[in-house]
């Protein structure tokens, strides 16, 4: 093997679940470290400081992963710096690629989010109705500042050019190894693509009716997972449970279906889809057999945007304020 790959990993917003995908390689992580040199990992592994990253030559990092969405100015700054320093930048996981679950906050205004957390919650005691302030003089002498909240959750491609996207919430740890291998061997799709097998969840799902050479039938009643136990066999969509498998990348091996739960789309859109939620609506619509079935969908999921855009609202054409 040639020189070690210079590798960087930056957590923007998000939950660090994508970083845990690396930790979850367990003892194989030690093997991986023989092939990659971690030049930056915030929080950092080596004696590398932010200013050191800023001092690195442009394009001196071979491969950089960013996980998490963008909510604070610090996220934005570091993403821009890392982009300049990296030959290949990968938006790693649902938040970086699509906005992720925290992106659902874009359905609400910041004032709505604050009012719920700091005034309306059951155990909150806020007699003076105060909110956290960007700058506050406590007792007239302690000058305390907080970072201001940006208006919306954004994805990495809203800020900088992204070379590749990886779906999943988080990507499975086996996928980390695959992605690195693809990059090492140069076995890569055109820039701007998702690193994916290109197969939908249905293509890898053991429940797919096509495996039994069965025809898909129109669905008459939409079910939530509390409307009867999802069975261990058979297509959940055919049973009436909304499942987004047909339009979602299946690099997960249909992991949720393996424990009898429907797909909610964390893997990201299969190639060719511009707006995940819009396609989800049309895909579900196409299998509903009647007006009554459509009515039952809206009755079961009254805020449909929180189903079809669960992982991808900031990346949608609507961006936000879907009601």
């Amino acid at each position: 093997m040639a020189d070690k790959i210079k590798f960087a990993f930056l957590l923007a917003g998000g939950c660090a679940g994508c970083e845990m995908a690396l930790v979850d390689l367990s003892e194989n992580l030690l093997d991986a470290l023989e092939h990659i040199e971690v030049v930056f990992w915030a929080p950092t592994v080596a004696d590398v400081k932010y200013k050191d990253l800023e001092a690195m030559a442009d394009k001196s990092i071979d491969l950089a992963f960013v996980d998490g969405m963008v909510r604070l100015s610090e996220h934005e700054h570091m993403v821009r710096v890392l982009r300049a320093k990296s030959k290949i930048l990968v938006a790693f996981g649902a938040c970086a690629s699509l906005g992720g679950i925290p992106g659902m906050a874009n359905i609400h205004t910041n004032d709505e989010l604050f009012k719920q957390a700091y005034k309306d919650t059951f155990s909150t005691e806020n007699p003076d109705g105060v909110y956290p302030q960007p700058q506050y003089f406590l007792d007239g002498k302690y000058d305390l500042t907080l970072p201001a909240f940006q208006d919306k959750v954004r994805t990495i491609q809203d800020l900088v050019e992204v070379d590749y996207y990886v779906g999943g919430c988080p990507p499975h740890h086996s996928f980390v190894a695959k992605a690195v291998e693809a990059i090492v061997t140069g076995n890569l799709p055109p820039k701007g693509s998702w690193l994916t097998s290109g197969k939908a969840v249905c293509d890898v799902c053991k429940r797919n009716p096509a495996n039994e050479e069965l025809e898909r039938l129109p669905v008459e009643t939409v079910k939530r997972t509390v409307d009867g136990m999802p069975e261990e066999k058979g297509c959940l969509l055919q049973h009436g449970f909304v499942c987004l498998g047909p339009i979602t990348q299946g690099d997960c091996g249909a992991s949720c279906l393996n424990v009898n739960m429907p797909c909610r789309g964390c893997g990201g859109p299969i190639p060719g889809i511009k707006d995940y939620g819009a396609r989800a609506v049309s895909a579900i619509g196409s299998i509903l057999g009647s007006e009554a079935a459509t009515d039952s969908l809206l009755e079961k999921f009254p805020v449909l945007s929180k189903l079809v855009y669960r992982y991808s609202l900031p990346a949608s054409r609507l961006k936000s304020n879907v009601r």
Binding site: S26, P43, R71, S123, D143, V226
Partner: protein
């Protein structure tokens, strides 16, 4: 007034920072720990079906990946008016104990031990799991990672994914365990008990036998006398998945117990304009009176140390023996020394492994009867669990269809917000004198809040270790004199 800022990098739950104010003599006048831990979950969960909430709130944290899922799953039982089947409950507990093991292992090996194994004075660049592996040897390091990986396998088997599980159903669990899988888990459980023993051994060798470290563990600079809260079982022992919440005062006297919605009789959260994180207090112990420690305070903390103080023992034999050694060593209850959090964490890792072993041997665990779906919607549910970091409360209201209309979450780090402020202030006062500030302060301040295992620092629960900190020292006129950072 001179201000020093210590800035951890923005975290997944926002941005934590420490502001220290010096008086004219250069001694600490006051210190504040400020947090952003706010993404608006309590609002954007509204309008979602309750049964979809567990797989959604899991993403609050990728390290405590199992806890928000489990607490909201328990709350969903209440919303749908259903009691889980015995097998469903056991599957939940099996999964939850596996989570305890892998989570505590990451915290200890990546965060807790490096301070002691590599040394509190070591450079932050070495004071991480890589440095730790360098000290204890690659073989042990590899073995710890491999064993922890077994707990992650259990997680994936039961939850669907190695992270962010999806198998929650009100009244139980969506996946049954096959006999083949059970045998596999039983084998792994044996190995995880060994990991628990090894972890306690490491603590014993490295910390308990080291006089200098014991001075830190039993030193006043890391002593924070407050009240404690944790879950106990019907015999008063420490429990994780389900129990009664017990509150004791700083002298060990019981303040009261509660379950479910009773939390509202005990806990109020204050909003202060200088932090995104609210400040809970025990309202049965008097009205809000600020962030104080010692006699008369109504601040309280949660987590492994709180559980050791609130519970009268452990429910498995090896962990019980370790619990007894813990209390014999300190010989004063409750234990107020926060470095003891790490020891308590090691005891709990072993306890969770022992529980896992018992569950894996239970013939009922493979029954197909994993869920009770005799739903009768009540429109309200509270789920309380002991997360690895401490008590976690999820409270939901729904309409008559089970669609969420209101949500309230109190996470462990929030309960600990007051005590963390106290710990940081105390360490700052101890280590900063006459305006002398140096790199060493970084380590010692880190060691003041690291025992609490801040959720806002979840991102640091990686193999990389340390909490990144920056200290900015300003002159009285506001000019920047010096900047120290470890990142």
């Amino acid at each position: 007034m001179k201000k020093i800022e210590i800035n951890p990098i923005t975290r997944l739950e926002g941005h934590g920072k420490i502001a220290i104010f010096l008086d004219d003599a250069g001694n600490v006048d006051d210190a504040f720990f400020q947090t952003v831990e706010f993404r608006g979950y309590e609002k954007f969960l509204q309008g979602m079906p309750m049964e979809e909430v567990p797989r959604t709130v899991s993403t609050i944290c990728g390290v405590c990946r199992g806890v928000h899922f489990t607490a909201s799953m328990k709350a969903s039982d209440g919303v749908f008016g259903v009691t889980p089947t015995s097998t469903g409950r056991k599957l939940r507990e099996m999964y939850f104990n596996a989570h305890y093991i892998e989570d505590h292992a990451v915290i200890l090996y990546a965060l807790g031990f490096p301070d002691f194994v590599v040394g509190p004075e070591a450079s932050p660049a070495e004071r991480n799991i890589i440095g730790l592996i360098g000290k204890v040897g690659a073989e042990i390091g590899r073995e710890v990672l491999r064993k922890r990986g077994l707990a992650v396998k259990i997680f994936e088997m039961l939850g669907g994914k190695p992270n962010h599980p999806v198998a929650a159903l009100p009244g139980g669990w969506s996946k049954r365990l096959t006999e083949e899988e059970r045998v596999q888990v039983a084998g792994w459980a044996d190995e995880l008990v060994e990991l628990g023993k090894l972890t306690l051994q490491v603590f014993d060798n490295v910390v308990l036998k080291n006089e200098a470290y014991m001075k830190l563990v039993t030193g006043d600079m890391y002593k924070v006398p407050v009240n404690y809260m944790g879950s106990v079982d019907e015999k008063g022992r420490v429990t994780y998945y389900d129990g009664t919440q017990k509150v004791i005062d700083l002298n060990g006297r019981e303040v009261g117990t509660f379950t479910g919605k009773g939390y509202l009789d005990f806990i109020s959260e204050r909003v202060l304009p200088w932090s995104y994180l609210k400040f809970p207090y025990q309202k049965k112990m008097g009205p809000w009176s600020g962030i104080t420690e010692g006699e008369g305070t109504n601040m309280y903390c949660v987590g492994p140390l709180a559980r050791m103080n609130v519970g009268n023992g452990m429910d498995t034999p090896l962990a019980q023996a370790a619990y007894e050694q813990f209390h014999e060593t300190f010989n004063s209850r409750p234990v107020h020394y926060i470095q003891a959090y790490h020891w308590a964490r090691a005891i709990e890792l072993l306890s969770a492994a022992e529980k896992l072993k018992i569950l894996a041997a239970d013939p009922e665990i493979t029954s197909p009867d994993t869920v009770n779906q005799n739903y009768a919607i009540t429109g309200e549910g509270v789920g309380i669990i002991e997360a690895p970091r401490g008590t976690l409360i999820h409270h939901y209201q729904t309409d008559d269809k089970g669609i969420v209309t209101n949500a309230n979450l109190i996470v462990a780090t929030t309960h600990n917000n007051g005590p963390i402020n106290l710990a940081v202030k105390k360490a700052a006062k101890h280590f900063i004198k006459d305006g002398q500030v140096n790199e060493g302060l970084l380590n010692y301040v880190e060691m003041a809040f690291r025992p609490y295992d801040l959720c806002l620092a979840c991102a640091t629960h990686t193999v990389t270790g340390g909490v990144p900190l920056k200290i900015e020292i300003f002159e009285s006129d506001g000019t920047l004199r010096e900047e120290l950072s470890n990142f």
